[in-house]
């Protein structure tokens, strides 16, 4: 059965019947609608072969082979959606879009603010086509303001909203968080916003427009530092791995080349247990370190002692010995080792998908588990234009002649 139609199991999914027309691209947007697709929403995702999603050319790639259908990142963000290709510069494409808007409950887009207006698909125009439509517009800086049209990726939103400066070592330039950091925060807020708007429509029958600036939502992940600035006038910055409230707290050298173990002690009991595991009862008895206040004041000395012990142990050996005594500790897992992480394996975090060129590929599972209506990953990689026929025929009810006309007019490209 084509993906556009619901099987019996699909109709039991939590979001069965929710229809999303998705113009979003890159990471933050697609990460949001992936959550909806996992739980049964029908997400029709519009792209163009002439200018496809940038993320299709960002790794990791299946078998190290760059190509628009081979990006593990793209597949991970878009699995379960119905990918169609439309050349929006063709007038006939506008008609297809209008039909899809009539079908949809929710329209999502993550272009810079002027783009949707230029195509005639801004909220006011969509509302004329479908009065109760819900539209989510999400871009880096928001739909208004002097920087509204500043386009870009999450590394830029992370830089401009203060995420780089507090990441790294105090005696060096900021290291910055990995990659496009705010792109990993925004999906939670985008998805919550769409669902809240669906709830509002359930109560009142009304749609609405949501303006979600990636930078503004993400700032809530810096809120304690922002409040320190506004309430105390103090500017917090990077402090390595140290913590305002806990010590010892760090990433320590383990035996092996570039191997590390993270330890974050949050109580006096954990501190004494750490000393016991390290055979350093002298430290455990030392009055200076008995309270967190004392430990915070003597971190260099503590870190030195811990490094001496950890450097004699492999990262997983250190983790096992410390966790056996309830000390918060973990090997710093490499990206390759994460696939072997016993907990992620137990939770079924890695899911195989069919892939037309490689036989199979792998994506991540939903990040939460529902007891009654679990996520279902629909099993084929979202290759370019894979669902053109399905969407036009089964969702829009176009006949063969009409579809052929669109093909001939080069609209489906």
């Amino acid at each position: 059965m084509p993906d556009g139609q619901h099987t019996d199991t699909e109709s039991n999914q939590a979001l069965a019947g929710v229809k999303v027309l998705d113009f979003m691209w890159a990471m933050a947007g697609p990460g949001s609608t992936r959550i909806l697709a996992d739980y049964g929403a029908t997400v029709v995702r519009v792209e163009s072969t002439t200018r496809f999603d940038a993320v299709r050319m960002v790794g990791p790639f299946q078998n190290k082979q760059p190509g628009p259908n081979n990006s593990g990142l793209f597949n991970n963000l878009n699995t379960g959606k119905l990918p169609i290709t439309l050349n929006l510069s063709k007038p006939e494409a506008g008609q297809v879009i209008r039909d899809l808007v009539r079908w949809a409950d929710v329209v999502t887009e993550s272009f810079s603010p002027k783009a949707m207006r230029a195509w005639g698909f801004d909220y006011e125009s969509l509302k004329k086509i479908k009065p109760d439509i819900i539209m989510l517009s999400t871009c880096l800086m928001g739909q208004t303001g002097p920087h509204a049209n500043f386009a870009g990726f999450g590394n830029l939103a992370a830089a401009v909203s203060g995420f780089f400066d507090p990441t790294g070592w105090p005696d060096r330039a900021p290291a910055g968080p990995f990659g496009a950091y705010t792109d990993y925060i925004a999906p939670w807020y985008n998805a919550a916003s769409i669902l809240a708007a669906l709830e509002h429509k359930h109560q009142t029958g009304k749609g609405q427009h949501i303006d979600l600036a990636q930078a503004e939502a993400a700032l809530h992940f810096l809120a304690p530092f922002l409040l320190d600035q506004s309430a105390n006038g103090r500017t917090q910055t990077r402090m390595g791995n140290r913590d305002l409230n806990f010590a010892p707290h760090g990433v320590y050298q383990a035996a092996g080349d570039d191997r590390w173990v993270a330890i974050g002690v949050e109580s006096d009991d954990q501190w004494r247990a750490l000393c016991q595991v390290m055979n350093r009862s002298d430290l455990g008895r030392d009055e200076r370190f008995a309270t967190v206040k004392g430990r915070l004041a003597n971190q260099d000395e503590l870190d030195k002692a811990i490094n001496e012990w950890t450097s004699q142990h492999g990262p997983y050996d250190a983790e096992d010995k410390l966790q056996a005594q309830h000390v918060p500790a973990s090997a710093v897992e490499t990206m390759l080792e994460q696939y072997e992480d016993k907990q992620l394996q137990h939770r079924g975090h890695f899911v195989d998908l069919d892939h037309p060129d490689f036989g199979k590929t792998t994506v991540e599972a939903s990040r939460f588990k529902f007891s009654r209506t679990p996520a279902q990953i629909r099993g084929t990689a979202p290759t370019l234009g894979r669902e053109n026929q399905n969407v036009l025929k089964n969702i829009l009810g176009y006949n063969e002649d009409k579809i052929t006309e669109l093909v001939v007019a080069e609209v489906l490209e």
Binding site: S161, F164, Y184, W188, E216, N232, Q338, S371
Partner: protein, 413 residues
Amino acid sequence: MLSPYRVLDLTTERGLLCGQILADLGADVIKVEPPGGSSARKLGPFYQDQDEAENSLYWWAYNRNKRAITLDITTTEGQEILRRLAKSVHFLVESENPGTLAKYALSYGDLAQENPGLIYVSITPFGQDGPKASYADSDLIILACSGPLVLTGDEDRPPVRLSVPQGYLHASAAAAPAALIALYESHRSNKGQHIDISAQQAAAQASQSSILCAPLHEADVRRMAGGAKMGPLAIRLLWPAKDGHVSIAFLFGSAFAHFTKRLMDWIYEEGGCDKEVQEMDWVGMGGLLFSNDPKTVEDYERLKLIVEDFTQSRTKEELFRNARERGLLLAPVTTIEEVTHSEQLESRDYWTSVNHEELGKAFRYPGPFAKFSERPITYRRRPPRIGEHNAEVYTELGMSDQEVTELQNKGII
């Protein structure tokens, strides 16, 4: 939008953000704290550095719009009261170690018997089951085994985290859309369910799918100051400016080429590179770079130096102004203080004043995470003081003033 719904928020610092997102969206969120206050109130920074429960800026950051009661759920009487409360709520959010609430007969199964519509959300480090389910945890532990840590930092120092703890923020933000998916479903089934959130799986989103390197047979990804190492490739995102740093998505391929061309055009105009460099094939370079073509990798290294020479002789403001005018993927690295003075955030009225009447002062908080056209988010209540709404909430439960006083005397509330 969520004003018809009531939420019991039993979380510690691991899960406060979930309830706050629901409260911002209009739900009546009742924060349940042990007598004496939540452990989150012990987390600094503190207002005026006064280490007291009502002054924790961490508490302020994640509890606005909630009401607060105290209740000792380790006593049988306290458990009985919680069961009564749970009969009349739509959501319960908790973040205890797996099995803890079951000991008090407050598990999902226990409460759903009386309230089958209850949506019960559990936020834990590793999920409810599996080999690490009972691990001792802290923020660093989550980051060590979900990806962000190994990907972040200077190559010659230990992996490093963002100085505001991020692991549980991902988990508790993820919990909000999860709860709302279950709400949508409950309109059809009249049933609630249990939602099991793992911080490890939620924070893994911040690996930008690098977690899939092993199953995709890709090269490992490793930390690098201001960028990342993808196999032998050193992808650089951070550049020096005259007065700090800027982040540039200096990338190639069809999606990035036009941005990179505009940057190189500007550098050429200002005499920073020759014609041959300006006219390089920025589209083709993407694929070649990711296939580790030796000549392209060499070119990339040379280009990085050209860009560096150019940026380090200009101020952040000059670079960002040109980025906006010319459409470049470039943004300044801002300090926390600079964020609070952003002209963009100012023009969107982002910062929201919250009055703390007992301190005789209002404070600027990070503003609504999105702008909703139908029901804008408002900040109705400052973060609650310990037990501030005991009388109000317990009276709503049908208790007499006398009963409330008795419970107070016994230390249960």
